[in-house]
């Protein structure tokens, strides 16, 4: 049974300029112990979609359903949500420099997390905090537990965030661009820590990123989002080798060093659409190189790409296009090599 089943999630905001429909009918599932990667450009609604699951987005109108372990997150009471947050769903955010409270020691902050949900004596909570810092490989955890966040580097702080989010062995960890603010070498370390923690505790992870390289490293399944909608959803291998949607193709082609030509980047022309405006039936129409009449008339359903039932794509192009790409896409082999290191 799926751990998290999100169905037809819509999130909108009333602003002075009108209603911003940031998420428009997103569905996905997360299996226990698995990693779901959500990719998309900035403004594709990936962060809003996942953060609205924990109902921490102020001023958002949320509809749809999100069954988490038998509880509908979108209709649970605030009290129930507080018991879920931290204890069953851990969260880490993009900027580790600003996600920890500057006025409290990291130990205090982890202990607070533990004691908010479990009535354990302070000594035991502190012991557990030290173990957690060890788990995320903070050197000399016993001494560093009384340090303030500003005494740690960015990568270290993100590890502290992971330690805190994992303090109560949550069934699900939502990581919202956890490596974006870090430099590349540190990114790999932090991802490794997350993978190790996952192997240790069996937590499921939703990993939100705009970096396909990160996805290639860790995701079991991938959701590609654009303009608040799911464009393509498949296992990692399919996304990299048998992608179907032109947007996925564009994302892959625009990776530096992996594009069609060696020396030039291949961007997707144009910008993501404003989510205030009414969109084309397929939101990618204005930027799609394969666009034809039907794309402007009818909404493409998120349908299985023949013959794989678990590979879904919202595009009118022939289903077997995905298969044709298998040999063409050898140029992406380099990305996948990072996945197995």
């Amino acid at each position: 049974m799926a751990l998290l089943e999100v169905d037809d999630l819509h999130v909108s905001f009333d602003t002075a300029d009108g209603v911003v429909r940031a998420v428009r009918g997103v569905s996905f599932t997360v299996e226990p112990g698995q990693t779901l990667g959500i990719v998309g450009e900035s403004g594709s609604g990936k962060s809003v979609a996942t953060q609205s699951l924990t109902r921490l987005v102020a001023g958002a109108k949320i509809t749809g359903s999100a069954m988490f372990d038998g509880l509908d997150l979108l209709h649970a009471s605030q009290r129930e949500m507080r018991r879920i947050r931290g204890r069953r769903i851990g969260m880490i955010f993009q900027d580790p420099l600003s996600s920890l409270h500057p006025c409290y020691t990291v130990g205090w902050q982890i202990i607070e997390m533990i004691r908010a949900h479990e009535s354990v004596p302070r000594r035991r909570a502190r012991q557990r905090a030290i173990e957690l810092l060890d788990l995320v490989r903070i050197p000399n955890a016993r001494a560093r537990i009384d340090d303030f966040p500003h005494q740690f580097s960015g990568g270290m702080r993100q590890r502290v965030m992971i330690a805190m989010a994992m303090a109560l062995n949550p069934a699900l960890l939502i990581a919202d661009e956890p490596t974006t603010a870090l430099d590349v070498t540190v990114q790999a370390q932090v991802l490794k820590v997350m993978q190790d923690v996952q192997a240790d505790t069996g937590t499921a992870i939703i990993l939100i990123t705009h970096d396909l390289g990160v996805i290639a490293d860790v995701a079991d399944e991938v959701v590609v989002m654009y303009a608040g909608q799911v464009m393509e959803r498949a296992r990692r291998r399919e996304i990299f080798y048998q992608f179907h949607h032109p947007y996925t193709e564009g994302l892959l082609a625009s990776l530096p060093g992996h594009g069609g030509t060696r020396d030039r980047l291949t961007p997707i022309p144009g910008n993501p659409p404003s989510l205030l405006a009414k969109l084309d039936p397929c939101p990618f129409v204005p930027r799609c190189p394969y666009v034809f009449d039907k794309c402007r008339r009818e909404v493409p359903p998120l349908a299985p790409v023949h013959p794989d039932e678990r590979h879904l794509s919202a595009c009118w192009l022939e289903p077997d296009r995905a298969l044709q790409f298998e040999w063409e896409s050898s140029k992406f082999a380099q990305i996948s090599s990072t996945a197995h290191r």
Binding site: T54, L56, M81, R82, R83, I84, R85, G86, R87, G90, M91, F93, D95, S98, S99, L100, H101, P102, C103, Y104, E112, M113, A116, H117, F148, H150, Q151, M161, M164, A165
Partner: protein, 319 residues
Amino acid sequence: MFRFLILRILQGILVLWLITVAVFALFFVVPSNVARTLAGRQATPRTIHLINHRLGLDQPILKQYWDFISKAFHGDLGYDYYHQIPVTHIMAQALPITLSLAIGAAVIWMALGVFNGVVSAIHPRSVADRSMTVFALFFYSMPSFFLGLMLLFFLYYKLTLAGYKWFPAGGYAPLSQGVGQWFLHMVLPWLTLALVLAATYTRLTRSSMLDVLGEDYIKTARSKGLNERRVTYRHALRSALTPVVTQFGIDLGQLIGGVVITETVFSLPGLGKTAIDAITQQDLPVIIGIVLFASACVVVANILVDLLYAFLDPRVRLS
């Protein structure tokens, strides 16, 4: 840290010295008629000369200044011109009154200001927020002499006419006459001072809280499943108070040096009123004594605030 402290103290001493020079200079720019006032209308030039001689006013300015400074180092601020009472004694009598006023008002304005500010910030643009804003602007734009007179008019005059003699018209009752009397005498001055400042602190706390509530670590706190009260007070207010406490230290330091208008309106013989009286009589030793003390309060408050800042924000501590 230690070096920093020494440096600040030296700076403070320099400021105090400059202030004595400035006050002395100002005093001698204006032609003095202390002797004439003391001697009365019919005084002969000889009497005036004698008085000037006795007060040391016939000495060169530099000599007078040197006498003052060398005595001041021994804690002797001289005697007042009119009654020959030691200035330190005059100040010691006035200080408890100003302290009662400043500290009592501080409790009220901090409680009101911080509470209102927090309430405004956690429900921005709500009815509560709007009414706090109106409250704040109303008192913020009101001169304290006017507010004091209004309070006297309604809460003393009108109430007394109606037969409720709750508040006195002014004056001070020392604590030795009982806490009740002291309290009743202080309520209206406290309100006069506190309401105006509470308005400032409401706005300050509100904007500081709003800034902090938008920080990522508040999102982290919520994502930990903490209840909203803990998020507001332990996480948000903890950071939001830093600028408020800084301002508080400076304001309180200033007030302890004398609250001129409020003390005058309510005839409280505190440092502020004493200073005003001394100025109208050109009673130089008293003026200098009080100005020096008031400046010392501000200087010390600033140093304390810097220390407190390091205590409140761990990021400042090490650097």
